[in-house]
Amino acid sequence: MSKNWWKALCVVLLLYVAVAGLLMPVPRLAILNESIRNLYFHVPMWFGMTFILFASVYYSIRYLRTPTPELDILSHEAARTGILMGLVGLATGSIWARYTWGAWWTNDPKLNGAAIAMLIYGAYLVLRSSFTDEQQRARISAIYNIFAFATAMPLFYILPRLTDSLHPGAGGNPAFAKYDLDSNMRLVFYPAVIGWTLLAFWLAQVASRLSLLKLKVYEKQLA
């Protein structure tokens, strides 16, 4: 339990988010109405994605310093979890956009940035699959992973602030904190961010353990 307390915390927080997020009072705002509850599910995905991709880059840097198959697996699975979080974030955002902005996809810098970031990480998976030698694959995909992170993050955190966007907090729109994130919503929003981020790390951990086991079985077969 001393090592796995964060998993229990993750379960408790996400149960709380699911119940409180759907039942707690929310501010009545025109257009948004009840769909504002999506804030607890859509926004934390991007937080979780950023953290898990950062973890992936951290493992890639460690791999370049001391190359071991474990570090390669950790960074690969973390990147894959990041892609999953990004895709879920895009899906929840798309549904939200349909009911508030009137279209599944709008020409918004944040949407386009997120889609391009998914393409960048899709290229990471393609790159991985085009090597046969494991060590070369591990090293070169670690290099690309670091490079991709350095160019993808401006897409999320710098470019949307320079252009007009339908999202709050960009192009002169007030940020959420200004008008609609009241203290009741904060009570759910912050636990939601922590809970979904923990879930991302949990997913990455389980996936890495599976890959490590597969590697061990494969090595046994060879021996």
Binding site: L64, P109, G113, I116, A117, L119, I120, A123, V126, L127, S130, F131, T132, Q136, R139, I140, A142, I143, Y144, I146, F147, A148, A150, T151, A152, P154, L155, I158, L159, L162, T163
Partner: protein, 223 residues
């Protein structure tokens, strides 16, 4: 030898090689020329002048494709034996910085020639020429620094030409968005102040990409 003199020697070597085997250079010039001409022919069917946004987008797409083609051969043409020779005489940082510098100069030359051809056949709606040319310079440096490392990565894989496009295009999008925005400002003849923040972001992005390439290339080189 200091790092700077090593870089200088390598850039001189690249230019000398290019000049001796003029097939590649002429090929690139023809590539730019024929792409511009195809654009001209396909748009002249409609008759009349292109609208400024279309002119702008087309110009950058032509540059993007010529850049990918010109830079792709950067590392592909280096034979394995020659890379081993470099390994014994210069440090890896000099190799990557020299390649970036050489590619930037090459792309700048191509872009300016392309701009001249483009302006002759499709008209020149640019109202603020110094801003436009400055933007093209930043674009050439940015394309070169992003694509040089990508071509180094792609050269290691089996299906390098596909990988070059898959890895390169999404990574260049943040830069391309800023470039298109600034060049639209230059087309409309806006003041320098209107594009100042975008230009600064562009310079910062170029520096991030070049710094990351500088740090990562030594790892890429070992294989």
């Amino acid at each position: 030898m200091t790092l700077l003199s090593e870089i200088w020697v390598l850039i001189q070597k690249d230019f000398r090689l290019e000049w001796r085997q003029r097939a590649a250079l002429n090929g690139m010039l023809l590539y730019v020329g024929s792409t511009v001409f195809v654009c001209y022919l396909s748009f002249s069917l409609r008759g009349g002048q292109l609208p400024a946004p279309a002119w702008n987008a087309l110009f950058w797409i032509v540059l993007l494709f010529s850049a990918v083609n010109a830079v792709a051969k950067g590392f592909l043409q280096e034979s394995r034996g020659r890379m081993l020779y470099y390994y014994t005489v210069v440090r890896p940082q000099a190799v990557i910085l020299a390649k970036i510098g050489y590619n930037a100069l090459l792309l700048l030359g191509l872009a300016l020639i392309g701009f001249a051809l483009y302006a002759i056949v499709l008209g020149n709606p640019v109202q603020n020429t110094p801003l436009f040319v400055g933007n093209v310079v930043l674009g050439a440096v940015g394309f070169a620094s992003t694509l040089t490392l990508v071509s180094g990565i792609a050269a290691k894989a089996t299906n390098s030409s596909t990988l070059m496009a898959v890895l390169g295009f999404p990574l260049m999008v943040p830069m391309l968005l800023l470039l298109i925005k600034v060049s639209k400002n230059a087309l409309d003849g806006l003041e320098f102040e209107a594009s100042q923040s975008s230009l600064l972001t562009l310079v910062a992005l170029n520096m991030i990409v070049a710094a990351v390439s500088y740090l990562l290339f030594p790892f890429l080189w070992r294989s």
